[in-house]
């Protein structure tokens, strides 16, 4: 055999180029002349330019590539079991996965559905191939995540919470923010939902904290499965980001779209910040046991992925097209994370509400305190006593921290817009929409409900824009209920019919576990009902008082 002879040389034959293949596939579409295509989901945008498919991939190469990715993922899961991963995994981390993995498959499949909404909007067929692949990708993500969750359920010490996962997703006060996230992808104006909110903002910016930053933390906690699955998921995102950008570029040259684009970039950024930072910030900062001071905090990760990567390199260049960028909101979101303790207050809220959760939250310890103080100076003064109280009150028989007046925590209002509670007290605000009073966590969320989700925007009719609906204040669903009855109704009780799924600790012995009887005797109430019942003068007093906040009492 001569040195120059290779198998490739023997078997190679002339083929068509990738660009040619993509171009011929794009030519499969045509403009119907006998019957018009079914009415698509409407948009108020005008799309006159044909978007280009930057990836130029065809399904013949896509399916084998994805199968290979899958083989790596499932092989890694098998390897993790053979390597006894769960012997060394940190339960503190896996417990938070009960919440995260209850939420995420629905946003994923919602993204698949939303491809139907954009698929017929753009002229030309080129990008439809991109949307097709994204549709199948999102189907992949949703079911691969359901598989991961099942795998945790089968192999982790405490499966309770994983076993009720999709039922819990529909009912829990915390997963409600994930539903807001997902429904935003596929309801209302098709471009607002499926292009700007989903691909331009959620996928381009926030999947980096979701699917890149969070897996790193998982690995630090002995969980190699989550990074395997989610980095594989993230590898599909570049294609989705390309779809989003291409569609954006097909609209951006038409100045009549600028007003709506500015509205939607602002709405989408603020909602993503309020929802994703609350949830993922909590998982990363409070789900970990790794307190290496050299690693990045969530604030530092945010600065890298959202500020530098998205804001500076993706959003700012849009200004050259005449788009006014909402710089103030980016600064405000940053302040909420680094100065106003948004993530820490969210973790605190989830912990106060632990008994109505379907996962365990153990107390942070001295080792954690030191790291938090190092990364967020002033943290200990505000949150140290709270976590001590949580540890102290984690024993069955103690008064549930949610109702324990000794602690000094004051239950928050729910934000009607992002559905995270109004945790940064000084930013609390309210407004009337269609004659009804609503509460909001921030000016950005007030604007979203009152101004963005309306039939008119700055004097321009927006007939395609969605509306907020449903029973958006979770607390209202159980107003006047005893918390034990509410937990039972939620289904957050273990198979013995009495032990709570949630526990305020990681002790795996029956004697340490809380039951319905331990929490019975306290009523839940809707803060909004009380707020609406106030007179205007009383309301002003209540607002002033709320904005002052509260102080956790010392825990001895």
């Amino acid at each position: 055999m001569t040195a120059s002879l290779t198998l490739n040389k023997i078997t190679a034959q002339k083929g068509i180029s990738i660009a040619e293949a993509a171009s011929r596939v794009a030519d499969l579409g045509w403009t119907p002349s006998y019957v018009q295509e079914a009415m698509t989901f409407p948009t108020d945008y005008k799309i006159s330019k044909t978007p280009r498919d930057p990836m130029k991939q065809v399904l013949r190469s896509y399916f084998p590539m994805q199968e290979e990715k899958d083989n790596r993922v499932y092989g890694a899961l098998d390897a993790a079991l053979r390597g006894d991963m769960f012997r060394n995994v940190e339960p503190r981390w896996v417990e938070w996965m009960k919440l995260f993995l209850a939420i995420i498959p629905f946003p994923e499949i919602s993204a698949a559905r939303s491809m139907a909404m954009v698929g017929r909007l753009a002229p030309g067929e080129e990008l439809r191939t991109g949307f097709t692949m994204q549709m199948v990708d999102e189907f992949r993500h949703s079911t691969i995540q359901m598989n991961l969750k099942k795998w945790y359920m089968e192999n982790y010490i405490d499966p309770a919470g994983f076993d009720i996962t999709e039922a819990a997703f529909g009912k829990c006060y915390a997963t409600t923010i994930g539903r807001q996230f997902a429904e935003g992808f596929l309801t209302g104006d098709a471009i607002t939902a499926a292009n700007v909110y989903l691909t331009v903002v959620a996928e381009t910016a926030f999947t980096n904290t979701l699917f890149v930053a969070m897996p790193s933390e998982a690995a630090r906690n002995g969980d190699y499965a989550l990074p395997t699955v989610f980095l594989s998921v993230q590898s599909d995102e570049s294609r989705h980001i390309g779809n989003g950008h291409s569609m954006l570029m097909a609209m951006i040259n038409d100045p009549s779209n600028h007003q709506l684009l500015e509205r939607d970039l602002k709405y989408a950024f603020w909602q993503n910040h309020a929802i994703v930072d609350a949830a993922i910030g909590t998982f990363i900062e409070y789900g970990t046991t790794n307190r290496d001071k050299n690693k990045e905090s969530y604030a530092e990760l945010w600065h890298r992925w959202i500020y530098e990567d998205y804001y500076r390199t993706y959003m700012l260049p849009l200004e050259k097209y005449g788009i006014k960028i909402h710089h103030d909101d980016v600064a405000a979101a940053w302040d909420r994370i680094v100065k106003k303790n948004y993530v820490h207050k969210t973790a605190q809220f989830f912990t106060v509400g632990w008994s109505a959760n379907f996962w365990r939250i153990e107390a942070q310890t001295e080792k954690d305190f030191e790291w938090f103080e190092h990364k967020y100076p002033g943290w200990y003064a505000e949150f140290g006593d709270f976590w001590k109280w949580h540890a102290k009150l984690s024993v069955p028989g103690e008064t549930n921290i949610l109702f324990n007046s000794e602690v000094g925590y004051s239950y928050p209002h729910r934000c009607w817009s992002c559905m995270v509670p109004c945790l940064i007290r000084e930013d609390f605000c309210c407004d009337e929409v269609d004659g009804k009073m609503y509460t909001y966590c921030s000016e950005g969320c007030r604007w979203t409900h009152k101004v963005a989700f309306a039939a008119e925007y700055e004097g321009r009719a927006t007939p395609a824009m969605g509306r907020f609906s449903g029973r958006r204040e979770w607390e209202d669903c159980y107003h006047g209920w005893d918390i034990a009855d509410a937990i039972k109704d939620l289904g957050f009780v273990r198979p013995d019919g009495k032990t709570l799924v949630a526990q305020p600790h990681l002790r795996f012995e029956e004697k340490d576990m809380w039951t319905l009887d331990h929490v019975r005797g306290h009523q839940l109430g809707s803060p909004l009902r009380g707020f609406r019942a106030l007179s205007p003068i009383e309301r002003e007093v209540a607002i002033t008082d709320y904005r002052k906040g509260f102080k956790i009492n010392p825990c001895h």
Binding site: P32, R60, F63, D84, F106, A116, T132, L186, W474
Partner: protein, 365 residues
Amino acid sequence: MSAQPSRAAAKPAFVKSGAAGSAVFPGSESRKYNYFEPKGRKATHYEDMTVDVQPDPERYLLQDWIISFPDGTPTYSKDWTAAKSSNWHKFRAVDQEWERTHYQRQSTICGMVQNTIENGRKSGAPARFDAAWVKILQNHLGAYKHAEFGLGTSTMQAQRYGYTQMVNNAILTNSSYKLRFAQDITLYLSEIGLDLPGFDIAAGKQHWLEDPIWQGVRKSIESIMGSNDYLEQYFATNVVFEPLVGELFRSGFLMQAAAAQNDFITPAVVSAAEADYERNLANTVELFHILGEDPTHGAHNIALFNKWLVKHADLAFDAANHLQPIWSQPRVKVTTFNDALGHAKNRIKGIATELGLKVPANLAS
């Protein structure tokens, strides 16, 4: 900072491992998704991956849908089809497809198709195709790829509207199969075109848009794409168009005639679509059978499906008849149009009977 740890009252029990079985406590053995009724004795993996991922107010959605369209229509609405069900959650896809099985199957098909084309081309097969047959592939298989694409985009649209995850995912995989096959044909023709001097890759689209032979098919496809009812789209695709036109052209012509024209490649490429259809048909029959047997809405649904059947069968039958001249074009005749159409009519009759539907008069003979 205080150095006072306050965990004395809560000294942890020392469980070293986070692995299943390392402690026994209430719920420690609850290792199955327990929030839905499996179809069989035990939940299948497909069911675990699929059921209830798309929630609704009847299934745990405590706060209802929280965003609506401007007219008040929620994120998912039962009104998006005229069909009614007393239990939309009953349906399970017969092919049990979830992401891993879908990619495995699609990838296997891609490999099979690509290998067949590559090896065929290496052996110089396209140059040995009968000249009349090459024209048929260029003009008519080239036109037909657009029909497959139309069904793919139609089902891509339809997968947004179903009331449950099971319905939508079955329609989604249907879409994925159709779009792959449309691309399979496109790339196949492009590649053999490299070996066939004068082969006009653009001719297929021209025939699709202008040739009278194809205008019935185009009208039938555009009528499916133009329906505002997602289940009508799904029904018309698999219950009507596929047996009456899709299979007629694929199995009733291409796969039977090709070998006699020295073409062993086309049947292999096309065979994948026949296997895809068997799965899509099984899912479709299961869904429409459930709806037809619905204890409350069965009669309404059967009447509706009969209406859809008449509407789309008229179009598809007309489309099929317009294709007749193609059967005369190969130099070596293997099968007649009438035989193929008779087979197609039997096929649709069988499907309609399975669903308890009345076979339209023009198909009954």
